[in-house]
Symmetry: C2
Subunit: 280 residues, 2 copies
């Protein structure tokens, strides 16, 4: 694991690392924020943040304004990249922003040419936490959140592996990817087959089948340009009702899909996770 | 004035505008954050933020995490670009980051080929405030701050025109530009002549000559790679003692020159300005 950069921030440390990923068979980059006083004697829980299309490990750390409260709560944050990277990693031939590099969709690809490197589900749920928990002064208590494609990722990951995550939230998630253009395009390429075979990567379908035992928090901008065609939070809400899962969907009039929206409400999500992690 | 983009943020609005600048003789871009409840009936004061080398109007708004407290305080923030822009605007032939585009240094250039467009001192002290105060629900109470080259700009502007600014602060300012490589290179090009003729654009020289009637707040990272060669805050501190000006220089061990440093302490600066603006 190679340290790329380190910045002191809010009394803690923001570091970027490069490491060789076994599951993705390429070098991966991630960022970690460690709050003040995190040490082997006083390890802290971790919030994993999954970013959206076109993002890297940097967007959330630079733009969300989350570190101030994370420092106060004693919460580490880990932000992985959104896809495998490198010259030999397959990309969309047309260079589309919503397939290939920057668009891993947090699935384990089964189809050529993607399956060699695009194993983002295994990477974020297993390989990355193992690495983080072996290398940093953190506990095995994990929370997870994300934005857009990363909101989809966070919900799917937590719903499929509830034993691994104490709490889950999402901003503007792609909540029903098997029924929207972004999800159809990505899942067709990465997973092949037909939409009904992709249900394990669709938060709305997962939640309709099975009750999730903890409350779920979802934040959504009412002026989000992708709301109707791509995000479909109302479907997720219906699924939660079907399975008697407690889901809070906060709609915010006038807010869009940008990091200005995330920054406006990130503190509420940190407090939500902190309460489940026993930090409050 | 043309609206480029608008985002709802923390109950207020973040907007980017393009307008034709008379003094710079080109189109200029700036960003404004208007807190909730700013209206013609309840106008709010403005903090001008001057950014550093290579920045645009976007860096501070996206990375500083200032809007949350600005919203609560009822403080608008205006962030201009760091230089004139456009195909016919002179740039360093070698494309250096510290001269020409992105490096206006907040001076009124007198030398060819710069003098036609590089009139950033007049732009930030006169043209931009006039525009902002005519177009938005703001008062004529102005505070000013900035980072690095923009910290230099903020200090110079306030020291030269104390009647126009209620308070001034700076992060990592180029505090003695006539005695550092960045300042020498830029002032040689823009102003010509010799260092002793540039004293009106050197905060340390201005402050040594004349007492500033209000306290000045300066934040500096101890691990800043530019500290010794380029920034020289100790010279500014000596000048403040010479003129019996109250200047607080907060040195922060381990912090660098990045926006992670600015974000870590921006709230203290907002509160400093808010207290002078009567918002606290």
């Amino acid at each position: 694991m190679e340290l790329i950069s380190e910045n002191r921030a809010f009394g803690g440390r923001h570091c970027r690392y490069r490491h060789t990923s076994k599951v993705n068979q390429c070098d991966m980059t991630f960022a970690i924020y460690l709050p003040p006083f995190a040490s082997q004697q006083t390890p802290v829980p971790v919030l994993y943040w999954l970013s959206g299309l076109t993002c890297t490990d940097e967007n959330f750390m630079q733009k969300a304004g989350a570190m101030k409260l994370a420092a106060r709560l004693g919460l580490a944050i880990v932000a992985p990249d959104t896809s495998p990277r490198g010259d030999d990693v397959a990309d969309d031939p047309a260079g589309a922003y919503d397939l290939g590099l920057g668009a891993g969709f947090y699935v384990d690809a089964t189809q050529s040419p993607w399956q060699q490197h695009y194993q983002m589900y295994s990477y974020v749920t297993e390989e990355l936490p193992e690495l983080v928990e072996s290398a940093f002064p953190v506990t095995r208590e994990r929370a997870i959140s994300g934005h857009s494609m990363g909101g989809h990722g966070a919900l799917v990951v937590a719903l499929r592996q509830p034993q691994r995550y104490v709490s889950v939230s999402a901003f503007s998630p792609i909540a029903n990817p098997t029924k929207c253009p972004w999800g159809n395009k990505a899942f067709s390429a990465y997973l092949g087959g037909a939409p009904e075979q992709w249900s394990d990567y669709d938060a709305s379908m997962l939640l309709a089948k099975q009750r999730y035992s903890l409350p779920i928090l979802v934040e959504q901008g009412g002026n989000d340009q992708f709301l109707t065609e791509q995000l479909k939070p109302e479907t997720l809400l219906c699924s939660a009702r079907t399975s008697s899962t407690q889901l809070t969907l906060n709609m915010h009039e006038g807010y869009d899909h940008s990091y200005f929206f995330i920054a406006s409400f990130i503190d509420e999500h940190l407090e939500f996770h902190a309460s489940h992690l026993g930090l409050l």
